[in-house]
Symmetry: C2
Subunit: 362 residues, 2 copies
């Protein structure tokens, strides 16, 4: 990581901050917020590494159920022993002034519990997507944060990614007229015996929970609308030994109030990563679209050309800056957003199970 890359990343990150008055890189913040990562899986590893480039946040504490991880991560990231927690003593974090934010990267079924415990410890909460197992859990999490006067965000990294922001702008500002069709799909060939993502109780569902939520997000941020009805279809199960509890593939369709339609596929059976929108007078698309990039995009007007940024640092900068400035959470990554996506996921599963169209009331 050289200085030029660092400055470019910071500059880009700044340019998407709602409160930034300039794209000129700011000096390092006088004070950085301390982040405790809860759950040290693959994405936590990525987050810990990427967040080093954040201007406003730093990784200062960890929470894990695996003592050997506490040890190895502690060494690698210079986390003192007093800042290493397990799931039992986690609540003591309330007395730790090093920690401002608890970032929950646990299996989905543990999001609610740890968000509420973090809120009670008076720490701000960031929770990875999907926010929880269902909308009711999201409501409990929002209430706990409100009651304890802490902020709550969902880790929607793409809301800080320039290609996705451009898709959102082209759609919501109706640059090519009203959006009529969105196609949003994300899949990876994935699934290993023993993984929590294949366990219905821990994951709540299959790729729809983990990957499909991005497609739902994309359909929503491109149209700027919330779907009012969905239809859905489970795909075939190609690896029955792995996908005995959760779906391997699912396709679904969302209908928006304007009449726009979003069709999506998410799957563990193949790689797919694309986002396409067709509007009255043109179209715009990304592929790769949703993964960690590098992204490529084009529209009726030609190729898009944006920098490839450090999404995690950009996200943490945006959240860190507003917390330092004592501003309210950005609407587009708030608990309400996570709750809305869970409402859609719930409806999609209901539609897939029943074979019927399912309305969503807002």
């Amino acid at each position: 990581m050289n200085r030029r890359t660092f400055l470019r990343n910071v500059s880009v990150a700044s340019s998407v901050l709602p409160l930034a008055s300039s794209v000129i890189p700011s000096p390092p913040a006088a004070r950085k917020l301390g982040v405790a990562l809860v759950g040290l899986g693959r994405y936590a590893e990525y987050m810990a590494y990427q967040v080093k480039e954040s201007q406003y946040c730093e990784f200062r504490a960890l929470v894990t159920g695996t003592p050997s991880k506490a040890e190895s991560w502690g060494k690698e990231y210079n986390i003192p022993e007093k800042n290493r927690y397990n799931y039992t003593n986690f609540d003591q974090i309330k007395d730790n002034p090093d920690v401002d934010i608890v970032y929950i990267i646990l299996p989905n079924a543990m999001h609610k519990e740890f968000a509420i415990r973090a809120a009670k410890a008076k720490k701000h909460v960031i929770v990875e997507k999907p926010m929880a197992l269902n909308p009711a859990e999201c409501e409990e999490m929002m209430k706990a944060c409100k009651d304890n006067n802490v902020q709550l965000a969902v880790g929607y990294r793409l809301h800080f990614e320039p290609y996705n922001l451009e898709m959102k702008r082209l759609g919501q500002e109706k640059v090519f007229g009203s959006v009529r069709i969105v196609e949003a799909s994300l899949g990876y060939f994935s699934g290993q015996a023993g993984e929590w993502r294949l366990n219905k109780k821990l994951a709540g569902g299959g790729p729809l929970m983990n990957l499909g939520v991005y497609c739902i997000q994309a359909g929503r941020y491109i149209t700027g609308e919330d779907p009012v009805a969905v239809t859905a279809q489970f795909g075939p199960v190609l690896r029955k030994e792995l996908f005995s509890e959760v779906e391997e593939s699912i396709t679904w369709q969302m209908e928006f109030p304007s009449g726009a339609i979003c069709t999506s596929t998410t799957t563990c059976a193949a790689g797919i990563d694309r986002l396409y929108a067709s509007a009255e007078q043109g179209h715009f698309e990304l592929s790769p679209a949703i993964s960690y990039g590098p992204f490529r995009g084009r529209s009726t007007k030609g190729e898009m050309d944006f920098p490839q940024i450090n999404q995690q640092a950009a996200q943490m900068n945006a959240i860190g800056k507003l917390l330092l400035d004592n501003q309210p959470m950005l609407d587009h990554i708030s608990g309400i957003e996570g709750w809305k996506d869970m409402k859609v996921i719930e409806a999609v599963y209901k539609a897939a199970r029943s074979g019927n169209k399912v309305g969503i009331k807002w």
Copy 2:
């Protein structure tokens, strides 16, 4: 049209002929087959113009219900009066040795009648897609052609188009492993008051009949399989005054025996033209994909680079050559293909109307 373009087109067309022994341009055929175009609408205009470049076929007769068109087309294309027919005296074409092939480009509801009348006149039959209104009509058409010992083809122009042939090859030869997902969508912002395509009785349905059939084809030629079940959803009607009889948009999903899924959208509400396939070890895609081009394509291995050809001339060359050589019709444009697509269309409408998954028995 210069000589180089001509030679390039012929060369490409030859390279896709099953019987061509070489890609070196052949000399003009000693004898060309005469084509009678039935129905002088927009696509007939395009066909008449493009077929001029065909090596094996020429436009020699016309059939129209509009006397002024007989006159103007006759003059433009040097069609003598004796080769100009109307819908009443059409059957006399049996006595016209100038005509070998009757190419039917009428509203869908008229395909069956004219295919059968052409067969009885002992002329080979090419019928535009969709082949007819339903599978039963296709069966009658096939029987009439068999009984009269003439050949029957459906105007599936993309079976001669290099980018689509590459998609077919990559899928069927499993270059990236088994295909798991296909996304195939085609739409145009279209629909004008009075058009036959908006009339249920004449068209049999909306964009699914006209455009969706290409997506069904694509799903089938990329996987090399026939779908065993479909689900489908009618889209919203944005222009109620135009789309009171047929759908304005429809999305549907096809399940193939291998477990591959194809999801599609077709619509008159927006432009969309794309084809994407994801397989076990890679993906491949076209966009534009299905229209008249120019096509663009790429795969996990990089950009595709094929010539943009005259699809109509290539199609007519392939059909003309095999008729001259007294060879059987190519499987992939035969009546059986048209019938299969109609079976799928019928199932898609049934699924959309009922909201249920509909199985297809082969």
